[in-house]
Point group: C2
Chain length 352, copies 2
């Protein structure tokens, strides 16, 4: 295989034709259902792709951390950011305040401690919009009941410097029914108390084509949809042809007839495995399982002859695209099998 011979391995290849098609396809779906789109940038971490999402019709972007938002805003051309995280602590609040001077900003909270901190930081300036995060079945963050949501929304509404901005959830995957039931009840309760619910925002790529089944939701935050990945192929959200991100690797050892070792290990593919078998899919080789990763080695095994030579290159579809983006300082952009250049992953490693 001589494609991409000029690229040193391991490398992340991002096919922009495919990424753009994914962006446009979900935007068209959302437009057809009257849903606003606010992509989560955690998947690509690239300002230029965020601008492409906005150009396609997205209303703004979603970030998980203040530092991610900073990286995207510094990249230019982005002026509407939702941070779906409970921001705590002086250092982060100071940076959040600075960010609010530059873009239209909103954050979330699921407890009064976070609300107090936000109010302390924003009490004297232009107000900050705060959405109430609701647990609709994913059992991570979020208030547990509609009644709790109403109580926290009132707390926000009463807090100096803050405006209640609506409801946010990261739903349990497997269908939007739970989110619809809880969010619609919460919205009705809030409206009965006189609080307007501007935004009801949900997310998640696995259920993105069923987003319209939760009509209470008026904004959707897909992340992985821009690249897709093996997990989304396996759950039938997309096909292999929709996957924009792959890892280019070189076979460095073929110790036995049924085993080959590549130069992409957990530092390239990550050890995310969830309920899948193996750490990625070798394109064109359904018989191969990547059954073991150490940091710099991936082990490929097959019941058939492995039929790979030392020096040969393979392309791997990773289990989870977002975590792979976070492992590389730069990705190689390609179109139609040709290399365009390198893009610095501006928001890589932004954990604060």
């Amino acid at each position: 295989m001589t494609a991409y011979a000029e690229v040193d391995t391991p490398a992340v290849l991002v096919d922009l034709d495919i990424a753009e098609r994914n962006i446009d396809r979900f935007q068209a779906y959302a437009n057809g259902h009257g849903l606003r789109v606010r992509p989560h940038i955690k998947t690509h971490k690239l300002p230029f792709l965020a601008r492409r999402q906005i150009a396609a019709g997205a209303v703004g972007i979603t970030c998980q951390k203040v530092s991610e938002a900073e990286a995207m805003v510094e990249g230019g051309g982005l002026d509407d950011v939702l941070i779906t995280y409970g921001i705590l602590g002086e250092a982060k609040l100071r940076r959040l305040r600075h960010l609010a001077e530059r873009v239209r900003l909103a954050v979330v909270a699921d407890n009064p401690t976070v609300v107090d901190g936000l109010s302390g930081a924003f009490g004297n300036g232009p107000p900050l919009r705060v959405l109430v995060e609701c647990d609709t079945g994913a059992a991570r963050c979020g208030v547990q009941t509609p009644e709790e949501a109403v109580q926290l929304a009132r707390t926000i509404d009463d807090a100096p410097g803050l405006i209640f901005g609506g409801l946010m959830t990261y739903p349990r995957t497997g269908g939007p029914a739970g989110a619809q039931r809880l969010l619609s009840r919460t919205k009705a309760l809030l409206e009965a108390t006189g609080l307007e619910v501007d935004v009801v925002t949900s997310g998640g790529s696995p259920d993105m084509w069923r987003a319209h089944e939760a009509p209470v939701v008026n904004e959707y935050r897909p992340g992985t949809y821009v690249y897709m990945d093996r997990s989304l192929v396996l759950d039938s959200t997309c096909t292999l042809a929709d996957c924009a991100l792959t890892v280019l690797a070189t076979v460095v050892s073929v110790p036995t007839p049924h085993r080959a070792i590549i130069d992409a290990g957990s530092k390239a593919l990550s050890s995310d495995i969830r309920t899948m078998t193996g750490y990625g899919h070798v394109l064109g080789r359904d018989d191969i399982v990547i059954d073991q990763l150490s940091e710099e080695h991936g082990r490929l095994v097959s019941e058939q002859p492995i039929d790979l030579e030392v020096g040969e290159r393979v392309r791997i579809l990773p289990n989870h695209a977002c975590v792979v983006s976070n492992l590389f300082d730069a990705v190689t952009t390609v179109r139609g099998g040709r290399v365009l250049g390198e893009a610095q992953v501006a928001a890589r490693g932004r954990v604060w």
Copy 2:
């Protein structure tokens, strides 16, 4: 908990007192058994700790990739490097050649394709030492039999620009018996053909206190031993008090009486889980399991009341220290509960 209040979270804390004690303890053990130590820098990726390992008595360092070696050598004070990887491809070979001009260098090979490439790059200059990598049971890279090792050693010995430098293995964990049997037989075969076996190098922190049980080995490459981690506590290689690297995290949500969410997810702790239960150990809280990570959230659950407050800080001992070092641009160095400063993780993300 107010310790480390000045550090923003999530952060990696490296206790230098503990790290130095770990370095000195293994060096003393190795000295007592006539074993040379060549630490693998993948765990800390910090030039100043590599220099500390050399100061304690190590003969040089081990790196997995050319780019890691470059980062360490650029950091200064290191002049003897073994790269335990089969280097392939023009770009890497050019850099390897450049590196060889600056330090005493050796690499490994387990196949003739790698040997050919090395010979092509080093044929006209000062020779490069190449060790034969042997599979002694770990079933990753390495020649499969003593006879194969002899054949490859001859190929190296015959190749222009290369010198046969000895044998290298990353053994199967669980005891050095397999490595001893295969390496001693290989060494005897090589010597019978007139090839001198200078270095026989093995590695792995899990079996480091049993290194002397493979007397054919004269050099050992421990990596994780500098920081230790949860996996090494669980297999009794060390105790909790020997663990130098922890992740400082903040509780951002306590949605239910038995669940808390922290701001350290897979981007801070990695999703390495192997055969362990949970993604890390919360110091002082044996009842808590970190049962789920998303990229920026860690979920803590307990059958007892979770008894944590939003804003409170916890320290997590990660499952695997090396992969955590690779996720952070910088670590916070501490001694005796006090912050010393920040150290840039010079070799982070060096996958080439």
